[in-house]
């Protein structure tokens, strides 16, 4: 079983992008996602691709690493593209063939090909862009901090922002611990002759009981220990709590936010005025 998931793929290079305020990065990603779904024209996608490439260069994250992160999604990308090639209808018919006479005919339209290509571009750009900003250049802790501060205004309408952020931080912190624990327990049960890889569905599900129960037991134990430890240090929620590192927006963060707005505006303008291949 593949348990060595690469988690927290933070790749520290100390670049400008790494140093940006996480709130600025959150805003950027928001604008970026909107842009990518607004984009219709191939030139608009081109603009976004340039943004991603520039981000890669500035962040100094090796492209090899980012491409490796795309690997598990290659299947989905190919799958959606193939579906689009054959299922879109358009005007310019390139190829047609009756596979099962009178029942199933495959029609290949030019628009289908364009759609497939642009959709693949959309997914790739989206994944690369967000992963550079969210996983390679920002630690999960920075991200939750940014969310907590960025959504702080919701506290006014009684949304427990701090509590949610704390829950997220704790959850992220314990993922590697749990992965580790799972593999330990699996090994221990394997040593007692447990077999997780043969038999039918029910037999396999049953074989997981000796793993899940100890895992639950130890998770509850950990949770209780952590709660005690937090209480011992007088944690009582977000009110009046001060931080060691207070996030502060700097000049470069404002510049960055303006640039991301410009990106969205650029995409909208290109959509209207450019005349390349368009997504249906």
């Amino acid at each position: 079983m593949a348990l060595d998931i690469t988690l927290g793929q933070y790749y520290g290079t100390g670049s400008v992008i790494h140093k940006l305020d996480p709130r600025a990065k959150l805003l950027f990603v928001l604008f970026f996602i909107v842009s990518i779904f607004v984009a219709k024209d191939i030139y608009a996608f081109g603009l976004l691709a340039i943004v991603v490439i520039l981000s890669l260069i500035v962040s100094k994250v090796p492209i090899r690493l980012v491409l490796k992160g795309l690997k598990p999604l290659v299947f989905i990308i190919i799958f959606t593209s193939v579906l689009n090639i054959f299922l879109s209808r358009g005007e310019e018919l390139l190829f047609t063939k009756e596979i099962i006479p009178g029942f199933w005919t495959v029609n290949l339209y030019k628009e289908g090909l364009i759609n497939a290509g642009l959709l693949a571009m959309r997914i790739i750009i989206l994944l690369m862009g967000t992963s550079v900003y969210f996983s390679y250049a920002t630690t999960p802790i920075e991200l939750t901090d940014g969310l907590e501060r960025g959504l702080g205004f919701l506290k006014k309408i009684k949304v427990p922002v701090h509590e949610f952020a704390m829950m997220m931080t704790i959850a992220l912190r314990f993922i590697p611990t749990l992965v580790d624990e799972t593999s330990k327990i699996m090994n221990a049960q394997k040593a007692r002759g447990a077999d997780f890889s043969s038999g039918g569905l029910i037999k396999r599900a049953k074989a997981l009981i000796p793993i899940i129960i100890p895992l639950f037991v130890s998770s509850f134990r950990r949770a209780e220990e952590l709660a005690t430890a937090m209480e011992c240090r007088c944690y009582h929620g977000g009110n009046g709590r001060t931080r060691m590192n207070v996030l502060k927006m700097k000049f470069r963060d404002y510049v960055f936010i303006i640039l991301s707005m410009a990106m969205l505006a650029g995409v909208i303008l290109v959509n209207i005025y450019a005349n390349g291949f368009k997504l249906m």
Partner: protein
């Protein structure tokens, strides 16, 4: 008479995180053999590779190169039958109390034998014998394992492996986190089991005192290399080498060494308190001082 070996490790290498910046050569060309009918100790500092090494004995971890022979058979020759090796080489992991899961203590001990496909009446006999060996009272057999104390849980986990009647019993830090009495009970129980059943037992630890007391054969690992091997006398007389591997020699060894330093004619092969008492008494009676 030299004893037959039950596990042979030949030129084993293992690397963690291959081809990443975090690559660690955890085991470097290790060759050793575990003898039948005795207690073998594997000592090493944290990160010396001792846990990695013993996880190879039952095929939980596969070596990158080299081979493991159990009863003379290469265990990776038929990868599909690796689970049979796990019945031959019983492994008690670190903190085994965290692997308990069943409704009752009885069911938990019976889990291993059930997986082996042993008939019901024999399972009953095995469970009861193993429980008796580990000092588990019959009244707690119907309790939930989660209601027991830490020491009791560990004994239940140990009984769960013993009930499989492996020909080699491997224990990773069986006494970790127990108080001195718990340590004595569990290690003493294991040694008693070894003597009565005649199986080979391998204990991994970094406690030199325990090892000196219970083991017949010792292997010392440091940074993935086998640096010393032999019986207790041979190993503990290499105090300097052990210290350089980050291990503490038994405290009494320090006393003996200091005495030798002062010119007292005492054997350097002394590593237990009782041994030292005898030697010193002999010296005093002889009127050397």
């Amino acid at each position: 008479m030299s004893k037959m070996s039950v596990i042979d490790v030949k030129n084993v290498n293992f690397i963690y995180g291959k081809k990443t910046p975090y690559e660690v050569h955890a085991l470097q060309n290790i060759s050793l053999s575990i003898k039948e009918n005795c207690v073998t100790g594997i000592i090493g500092h944290t990160g010396s590779g001792k846990s990695t090494l013993i996880q190879m004995f039952n095929g939980i971890t596969k070596p990158d190169s080299g081979s493991i022979f159990v009863d003379g058979v290469d265990i990776w020759e038929k990868p599909k039958e690796i689970s049979k090796i796990r019945f031959k080489v019983g492994m008690v992991m670190q903190y085994p109390e965290y692997q308990l899961f069943a409704d009752t203590v009885w069911d938990d001990i019976a889990y291993g034998p059930k997986n082996m496909g042993i008939p019901e009446d024999e399972i009953k006999e095995r469970v009861e014998t193993a429980a008796a060996f580990c000092g588990i009272d019959s009244e707690i057999m119907t309790k939930s394992p989660f209601d027991l104390s830490g020491g009791q849980k560990r004994r239940v986990a140990l009984a769960g492996i013993m009930a499989m009647r492996p020909s080699v019993l491997v224990l990773d830090e069986p006494a970790a986190g127990l108080d001195p009495r718990g340590r004595r009970e569990i290690l003493g129980g294991i040694c008693k089991y070894q003597k009565e059943s005649g199986t080979a037992v391998v204990i991994v630890s970094h406690s030199m005192e325990d090892m000196a007391k219970y083991c017949d054969e010792l292997f010392v690992l440091a940074k993935g290399k086998l640096i010393l091997q032999g019986n207790c006398k041979e190993v503990f007389s290499e105090g300097e080498l052990l210290r350089s591997a980050g291990l503490d020699v038994p405290e009494i060894y320090g006393v003996v060494r200091a005495m030798r330093h002062k010119g007292v004619d005492i054997s350097k092969y002394i590593y237990t308190v009782n041994g030292a008492v005898d030697a010193i008494a002999e010296l005093l009676e002889g009127g050397v001082r």
